[in-house]
Point group: C2
Chain length 257, copies 2
C-alpha cells in the first residue's frame, strides 16, 4: 500500500517544493518507488525534476477536470531512477474555477489516485501551492499524512494556524485518518538569535511532532533545481543531501508507528 | 492624487510583505503619507506593522464583501507615524468565495479605494497573497502600478510569466493604464554564481524596468517583523534600511516619468 504524503503550508517560500524533490531523491536512493504529484500551477516541482511544463501534453489538470480519466496517461518518468511525476502545467491555474461546482469536488484527486498508486508505488509526495484553496484541499483529502515545512522565521510561524484549522475541518468529514506527519524546520540558522528563538517557538506550536532533522539554507540546495535532479543525485555528499537523507529515515520510522 | 502600487508575485516567499513594510517606512520618513492595504489572508502585513489580526474588529474582508461600505471604518493608525493600515484578518480567507459571483467582482476594491485615498494619502501600497486569484486581481485593477519582487533564484524566475499574462489580460479590459513599475531583485547574493546568473536572467525577462537597487538577505530584515515596525525605524543604519531608502528614491523618480 502506498503512503500518500501531502507537503503543504499556506506560507509562501518555506521549502515545500524543495522538500518534495529532495525527500523523493532520498527515498528513491533507498530503493523505494516514488510518485511526485505537482498540484501547484507554478509547476515548480515539474521544473525541478527536469520536465518542461510547457511541453507536457497532458497534466494533472486534465485528470482533475475529468477530461482524462486515467492517471496513467499523465504520469512521466523523470531523469532520476525511482521517481515518476504527474506534472502540472499552466492549465492548472484554471482548474480551481473549473471544479468549484463539481459534485464531490474535494475528493476528485483521492478517487483517481488511490486505486492507481496502491500496487505501483511505495510513496506518493504531493506538492501543494501556497494557498488553502481546492487544489490543496484535494491533496489533503487524498493524503494519509501531511508534512508541513515551517521556516524558522516570524511570518512562517503565524501561517500555521490557518492550515491547522483546515486540517481539522477535513478530518471531521472528508478524511478522518489524516494525520500530521510532522513539522519540518527549514531555513534554520542556529548562529542567529532569530533562528534559535523561532525553533523554540515551533516546538511549542501544539502537540505536533517536530522532526529532529532541521534543514539549513545552503547554496547547493538553491542550485539543485537548475540541474533537474534532487540534491541527493546532484550533490550527493553535500549538507543538504545529508539532511534530507536523515529526514527520509525519520519519515520511514514514523510510518511504522 | 495618491499613487496606488500593488506588490505582487505568485511565487511565494519572495519578499512581497517585507517590501511593502520597508518601502512604506522609507516613504513615511521622507514625509509622505502612506496607506498599507493587506489583501493576504495570512495577514503578514498586518502583523509586521504591529497590529494583532485576531483583535481587529473589522478588516478589508468586510469592505470587499460589502458589509462595510466605508474604508474609514477599517483603517487604523500604526506605531509608525505616516503609515496607516487597512488590516486583514482570518475572514479574508473566505472572501474570494463570497465575491466570486458578485457583479463587477474584480472592481470592488478599486471603486471603494480610489475615492477615499485621493485627498488623504500620497502612496497606497497593496500587499498581495502568493496567488493569482480574485484578491490579487482586485489589487491589480485598483492599482496604477505594480511592483514585482523577484528572488534571484531558479523557481522565482519561472513564476513571472503567469503574472505577466494576468497583467496583460487586466490591461485589455479592466485597467488600461496599469503599468509595471519595475522588478525588484530580492535575496540577492553577489558572492554566489547562482545569484549573479539569476540577476542576469532577470534583466533579460522582457523589456521591463529592473530597479537599480537590489535587496540582500540580512538578519536585521528577518528580525524586523518581530518589532512591528519597518526596518527604517527598527534598525535605521542597517544595510536593509539603506537599500529600501534607495528603492523609495527610485520609486519616486519613476513616478515623475
Ligand atoms: N534549504 C535551502 N537552502 C537554500 N535554498 C533553498 C532551500 N530550500 C529552498 N530553497 C530555495 O528557496 C526558494 C523557496 O523554496 P521553495 O520554492 O521550495 O518553497 P515553496 O514553499 O515550495 O514555495 P511556494 O510557496 O512558492 O510553493 C526556492 O528558490 C528554493 O530553491
Ligand atoms: N531581505 C531579506 N533578508 C532577510 N529576510 C528576509 C528578507 N526579505 C524577506 N525576509 C524574510 O523571508 C521570509 C519571506 O519574506 P516575505 O514574507 O516578505 O515574502 P512574501 O513574498 O510576502 O511571502 P508570501 O508569498 O508568503 O506572501 C519572511 O520570513 C521575511 O521575514
Ligand atoms: Mg513550491
Ligand atoms: Mg507576504
Amino acid at each position: 500500500v502506498a503512503r500518500i504524503i501531502a507537503i503543504s503550508n499556506q506560507k509562501g517560500g518555506v521549502g515545500k517544493t524543495t522538500t518534495a524533490i529532495s525527500l523523493a531523491g532520498a527515498l528513491a536512493e533507498l530503493g523505494f518507488s516514488v510518485l511526485c504529484v505537482d498540484m501547484d500551477p507554478q509547476a515548480n516541482l515539474t521544473a525541478g525534476l527536469g520536465v518542461d511544463a510547457s511541453a507536457v501534453g497532458r497534466s494533472i489538470a486534465s485528470v482533475l477536470e475529468g477530461t482524462d480519466q486515467a492517471f496513467a496517461s499523465v504520469v512521466l518518468p523523470t531523469e532520476t531512477p525511482g521517481i515518476d511525476l504527474a506534472p502540472a502545467d499552466l492549465d492548472l491555474s484554471a482548474t480551481e474555477s473549473q471544479i468549484i461546482s463539481a459534485i464531490g469536488r474535494e475528493q476528485i484527486l483521492r478517487d483517481l489516485l488511490r486505486p492507481w498508486v496502491d500496487d505501483r508505488y511505495d510513496f506518493v509526495l504531493i506538492d501543494c501551492p501556497p494557498t488553502l484553496g481546492l487544489l490543496t484541499i484535494n491533496a489533503l483529502v487524498a493524503a494519509d499524512e501531511v508534512l508541513i515545512p515551517v521556516q524558522a522565521q516570524f511570518f512562517s510561524l503565524k501561517g500555521f494556524s490557518g492550515l491547522n484549522r483546515v486540517i481539522g475541518q477535513i478530518r471531521k468529514s472528508l478524511n478522518r485518518d489524516l494525520r500530521i506527519l510532522g513539522l519540518l524546520v527549514t531555513f534554520y540558522d542556529p548562529r542567529t538569535l532569530l533562528g534559535r528563538d523561532m525553533l523554540a517557538e515551533i516546538r511549542e506550536l501544539g502537540d505536533h511532532h517536530v522532526f529532529e532533522t532541521q534543514i539549513r539554507q545552503t547554496v547547493k540546495l538553491g542550485e539543485a533545481p537548475l540541474t533537474g535532479r534532487p540534491i541527493t543525485a546532484h550533490a550527493s555528499t553535500s549538507e543538504g543531501a545529508r539532511a534530507y537523507r536523515a529526514l527520509a529515515r525519520e519519515v520511514i520510522e514514523r510510518g511504522q508507528a
